[in-house]
């Protein structure tokens, strides 16, 4: 079969089951776009390439599949870098195709040439420059395999214009096998039995789950495990939804803005069972004092995550779902009848923390941002897919919305990208057309990728944007208030667009609430409108996120309201 590189690419994309691509055309990818138009693949034309990657990220998370991006060379490629770095930090499977100048011009500083493989080497799981059309089919297959297997991540493929245009005799690649890449899925049984005996003997256990559980689709196993061993459970930001946020064993999120009881439980536990986490500094606070008296069992598919930041008693390398499934089977063979009695005092202690310092705010004359999120939770019955921007809006979305299912909280956790939420909501809505998708945003970060409102309008996506508008870059302002004697250097957004008019300009619906009693009305109207909607909530300007652990302090030393 004689096919061009571009046609080969389409063949493999179809084989991989790709239905949606996020992209932006350009000179170096005209041949690919020409072929793309002949397929059934839905191409979403974004307004900026960064938006394409975040949208693919949201799509991958909401669907549990792979996100695909197609952009041109040079600036098209460099614009994807922030999105790629974010997906890399959060281990999201994305395949990014970038155009490149023809092979004979590479290295000549040609028009729109950039060494994107060199630029993205530290922020991709792997990347390729395709120099020969013969290799294209195999490389694309490899990329999809690498992106989804083991600890997932973004893979970039740079395709020179002539590689896409050259016609060759095409034989479909066989099954992918990489000699140097074999992720460990099955846990070591000896390590598991060590874990079992620690779990049985623990008086004060805490389970700490993270994004790894969501990625491994292991929520069911995790929930079964926690209930079986009667252990309270906390998650990182990335782990929200891996365990029902309404379960009695749920402690709330851990870390810098974690709940009082989650952080106190972590400080006091005698065994931490960490699953699919990497002990980020926003979680641990001062590492020397993090669970200083506890033994730690750490389950993760990526060996580099283990022993990186925190010393571990029992390291277990394996897929979170497979490992938890095995642990559940092993626990079933044990006599666990006295566990209830053994854990009673511990659970009572935790209840005390829960009742003394719950998450709270005082709703007076001006709208509190927490109130908006809480109302949103009530009105959507916790069923919406929530995406966030980064900063205070992200933390309130994590604290006051409760997630019962995985893949419902989509946020740029590791890299913390402002401007993530709107394009991610577009991706999530395309993956789940029948779900309600809401971007909880701040007035600062929404402006970083606001141009994607046009994409949402063009695709007829009924996404909802809730802006918690405080006129500040709130999280930095909060740090300035607490640690820099209120010197608000460059954090006051003195000028912002009228978001209601802006929504209308984009062909969306704009609504605004300025008083507490309007919040519910605006939310109800916005959520029931079958179009893209921006809801602008004018909130208390200097509200801060609490609890807060100052950077570098032990996580049990929290600033409370």
């Amino acid at each position: 079969m004689k096919l061009t590189g571009a046609q080969i690419l389409m063949e493999v994309l179809k084989e991989e089951g790709v239905k949606t691509i996020f992209g932006f055309p350009g000179g170096a990818v005209i041949d690919i776009y020409d072929e793309l138009a002949k397929t059934d693949i839905h191409h979403v034309l974004v307004r900026h390439e960064q938006g394409a990657v975040h949208a693919a990220d949201g799509y991958a998370r909401a669907s549990g599949g792979v996100g695909v991006v197609l952009v041109t060379s040079g600036p098209g490629a460099t614009n994807t870098v922030t999105g790629i770095a974010s997906a890399y930090m959060d281990s999201i499977p994305i395949v990014i195709f970038t155009g490149q100048v023809p092979t004979q011009l590479i290295g000549n500083d040609a028009f729109q040439e950039v060494d994107i493989v060199g630029i993205t080497r530290p922020c991709t799981k792997h990347n390729y420059l395709v120099k020969d059309t013969k290799d294209l089919g195999r490389i694309v297959k490899e990329a999809f395999y690498i992106a989804q297997s083991g600890r997932p991540g973004p893979v970039l493929i740079d395709i020179p214009k002539n590689v896409a245009a050259t016609r060759i005799d095409y034989k479909p690649p066989k099954k992918i096998q990489l000699r140097s890449y074999n992720p460990t899925y099955k846990p070591n049984m000896r390590q598991l039995s060590k874990a079992v005996s620690l779990i049985k003997n623990a008086k004060k256990p805490v389970i700490f789950a993270g994004g790894g559980v969501v990625l491994a689709k292991g929520s069911k196993e995790l929930t079964e495990f926690a209930r079986k061993i009667k252990s309270p459970l906390t998650t990182s930001l990335m782990g929200l939804g891996a365990f029902p946020g309404t379960d009695p064993l749920w402690l709330g999120m851990i870390g810098m803005h974690g709940t009082y009881r989650a952080n106190m439980s972590t400080g006091a536990c005698d065994l931490m069972i960490a699953v699919g986490v990497r002990f980020d500094d926003r979680v641990t606070g001062k590492t020397d004092e993090f669970t200083s008296q506890a033994k730690i069992i750490h389950i993760d598919i990526d060996p580099t995550s283990i022993q990186k930041n925190v010393p571990v008693t029992v390291p277990i390398v394996g897929d979170c779902k497979a490992t938890l499934g095995q642990l559940n089977k092993l626990m079933d063979k044990e006599d666990l009848s006295d566990l209830g009695k053994k854990r009673k005092r511990w659970l009572e202690e935790i209840d005390k923390w829960k009742n003394t310092k719950p998450l709270a705010y005082d709703q007076k004359k001006i709208i509190k941002p927490q109130y908006v999120v809480e109302k949103l939770y009530e009105l959507t019955k916790g069923k919406a897919i929530i995406t966030t921007e980064v900063g205070q809006n992200q933390m309130w979305a994590a604290q006051y919305y409760h997630y019962d299912k995985p893949n419902h909280f989509i946020t740029s956790g590791g890299l913390g990208v402002m401007g993530f939420g709107l394009p991610a909501a577009i991706g999530a809505q395309l993956a789940c057309p029948n779900k309600l998708v809401v971007d909880i945003a701040g007035d600062g970060s929404i402006q970083m990728n606001i141009q994607e409102m046009a994409t949402a309008a063009q695709c007829g996506l009924p996404i909802k944007v809730v802006i918690l508008n405080n006129g500040y870059l709130g999280m930095v302002r909060q740090w300035q208030e607490l640690f820099y004697e209120k010197r608000y250097s460059q954090t006051c957004m003195q000028h912002a667009p009228d978001f209601v008019k802006l929504a209308e300009a984009y062909g969306a619906v704009g609504l605004r609430a300025t008083k507490p009693d309007e919040v519910e009305k605006v939310l109800k109207k916005g959520l029931s409108t079958p179009k893209a909607v921006i809801m602008d909530f004018v909130v208390e300007q200097e509200e801060s996120v609490y609890p807060m652990v100052p950077a570098g302090a032990p996580i049990t030393e929290m600033l409370l309201v």
């Binding site: 080497r121 890449y181 060996p303 022993q307």
Partner: protein, 164 residues
């Protein structure tokens, strides 16, 4: 924690860009490279990289795991702590004044090295050995005046009979 020198032997795909993935990993994560050697093995699509690095036990463990994580890395062997042989080669251009020539020749003899180039005012020596041997001869030649030096960095192999 105490920092120690470690010799790592790494088998990688013989492909463009692999070396920059490895050196980029060291640079990006703030690890040290004391020396780095790379060349093809008997399998043309596999290269062996020998890296000497310094770090605490915990850092070395991370380095090994991070190297493993690179898709093009097949195998990482930590030679330090096992039985292994190591060699380094140096080319030394030393000033050879007439009154010093006999002494230089004596040293060449004692250290079992070779003179591979002779100029009007210099000799170029080729020496192979471990780090101690190289630094010993450099110390002795220093007073005579060393014009230039090129070293390969360490290459190493395990003493064990099995092939790694």
């Amino acid at each position: 924690m105490t920092e120690e020198k470690h010799v790592l032997s790494i088998l990688v795909d013989n492909q463009p860009g692999v070396l920059s993935r490895i050196s980029g990993l060291f640079g990006g994560r703030g690890y040290n490279i004391d020396s780095l050697c790379v060349a093809e093995t008997t399998e043309p699509n596999v290269s062996r990289v020998t890296i000497v690095t310094t770090g605490s036990k915990q850092i070395i463990e991370q380095i090994i795991k991070q190297l493993h994580k690179l898709i093009n890395v097949m195998k990482v062997i930590e030679l330090t702590g096992t039985e292994f042989v190591q060699r380094e080669m140096a080319l030394i251009k030393v000033i050879a004044k007439p009154e010093h020539r006999a002494e230089i020749l004596r040293m060449v003899d004692i250290f079992r090295c070779k003179i591979i180039d002779v100029g009007l005012e210099h000799y170029t020596l080729e020496i192979t050995g471990d780090e101690d041997k190289l630094s010993a001869i450099l110390n002795l030649l220093e007073p005579l005046g060393i014009k230039e030096i090129a070293k390969t960095g360490i290459i190493a192999l395990s003493r064990e009979p099995k092939v790694v």
